[in-house]
Amino acid sequence: MPRKLNREQMATRVAQDIPEGAYVNLGIGLPTTVANFLPLDKDIFLQSENGLLGMGPAPAQGEEDDELINAGKLPVTLLSGGCFFHQADSFAMMRGGHLDICVLGAFQTSIYGDLANWHTGAPNAIPAVGGAMDLAIGAKQVFVMMELLTKSGESKLVERCSYPLTGLLCVSRVYTDLAVFDLTAEGAIVTEMVDGLTFEELKGLTGVPLRAAPVLRPWSGS
């Protein structure tokens, strides 16, 4: 069995694809950790849906401010040049196509780019959606970051989502702990795989139709 990437390695990989000058929203959970791996010598603008642009890292212990939090309601800082704005402006940034990239977690992503990440559909689950649907349809590029398989070994990259949808045909790339996929109207193209994994093995794990990119980059996550 090939060695899966850990969460830090996945975050490192995603961070490599965020160019200088990009306006970026990082979703709650795993995507938030991407911030820790962005290059310090580049200006990258992090947007937080609760009304911050130019969001900085977590404050030093004792410097937390209840009124300076991120979308996950955790304390953050504001970089020099950062600013605050209200909710209508914040979602105009998303819906209006002003964000270059958003990175979201997912329960499932279809090979065509449908996203399911807000609700398991379980009858007793309390639904909550927040900004997920706005981000999914609003950002110029939507990246998903997720483990490829569930704990029971089922692929989260699917032909058709069984969970309730967040957005249709909105995801352009999926970063997982085993491979990176570009999603198109014709389906998923594998662009990178971890060392030790073959394309046939990957097809077997996912059970969905996959195509390999002309140059399939092996990658160890460093």
Binding site: S48, E49, N50, G51, L52, D65, D66, E67, L68, I69, K73, L78, F84, F85, H86, Q87, A88, S90, F91, M94, R95, H119, N124, A125, I126, P127, A128, V129, G130, G131, A132, M133, D134, I137, G138, P164, L165, T166, G167, L168
Partner: protein, 238 residues
């Protein structure tokens, strides 16, 4: 150019002496917008006064459904809320909402956060409805009218207006002009526009002219009452 001093500056005074007076006329069955994202921007002292005042059967518009035991969570705990319109009710500390929801004792209208903001803004701006791309093709748009405009799909959504808005700001003046504090701004400015009566809890009431007119976030026309709440943070820090 500096703002000119207004004439008759003693005439209009929207400041109210106490939280109890500020919320005295909130009636049973009212629709109330409450600012805040989690506890940031939550007008907790206005909510405390509302709990004492006793209005019930309320419809609440907020991003969340209460955190912990204070503010909106306390209002829910006291059984005053019939319906909540929000985007993200489920949280680790939303136990009072969770209990009411599972017991079928509260109605939930779940709205994507950007649609919530846009619908509130639409009400404040006097629009009859909006077409939004958010939610198209999902369960949250089921049964709603849709339209294809320039090749893109949109969902028809109606404005959300309220009888009252309870919001929190950093400073206000007696004409109702407001500035906010950091990420506690969130829903305050748009909710202020969408309610018949907007009541602002402010950290400090400042003299007219003290707020930079270039930096006023909410113009006083959108605010009916201003109540001073000396910041608990500042009290703690002192």
């Amino acid at each position: 150019m500096a703002a000119q001093p207004a004439l008759n500056t003693s005439m209009i005074n929207k400041t109210i002496g106490s939280f109890g007076e500020a919320v005295a006329d909130i009636f049973d069955g009212a629709c109330i917008m409450i600012g805040g994202f989690g506890t940031a921007g939550m007008p907790d002292q206005l909510i405390d006064a509302l709990i004492v005042q006793g209005a019930s059967n309320l419809t609440i518009v907020n991003n969340n459904a209460g955190n912990g035991e204070t503010g909106l969570a306390a209002l829910l705990r006291e059984g005053r809320v019939r319906k909540i319109i929000c985007s993200f009710p489920r949280q680790v500390d939303s136990q009072h909402f969770d209990r009411l929801y599972r017991a079928g004792q509260i109605e939930l209208e779940l709205v994507p956060q950007g649609n919530l903001a846009a619908r509130i803004q639409a009400a404040g701006a006097g629009l009859g409805a909006i077409f939004t791309p958010t939610g198209f093709g999902t369960r949250l748009a089921e049964g709603k009218e849709t339209r294809k405009i320039d090749g893109r799909h949109y969902v028809l959504e109606y404005p959300i207006a309220a009888d009252f808005a309870l919001i929190k700001a950093r400073e206000g003046d007696r004409w109702g002009n407001l500035v906010y504090s950091k990420a506690a701004r969130n829903f305050g400015p748009i909710m202020a526009t969408a309610a018949k009566c907007t009541i602002a809890q402010v950290g400090e009431i400042v003299p007219l002219g003290a707020l930079d007119p270039e930096a006023i976030v909410t113009p006083g026309i959108f605010v009916q009452r201003v109540v001073a709440a000396p910041s608990r943070d500042r009290a703690n820090a002192a």
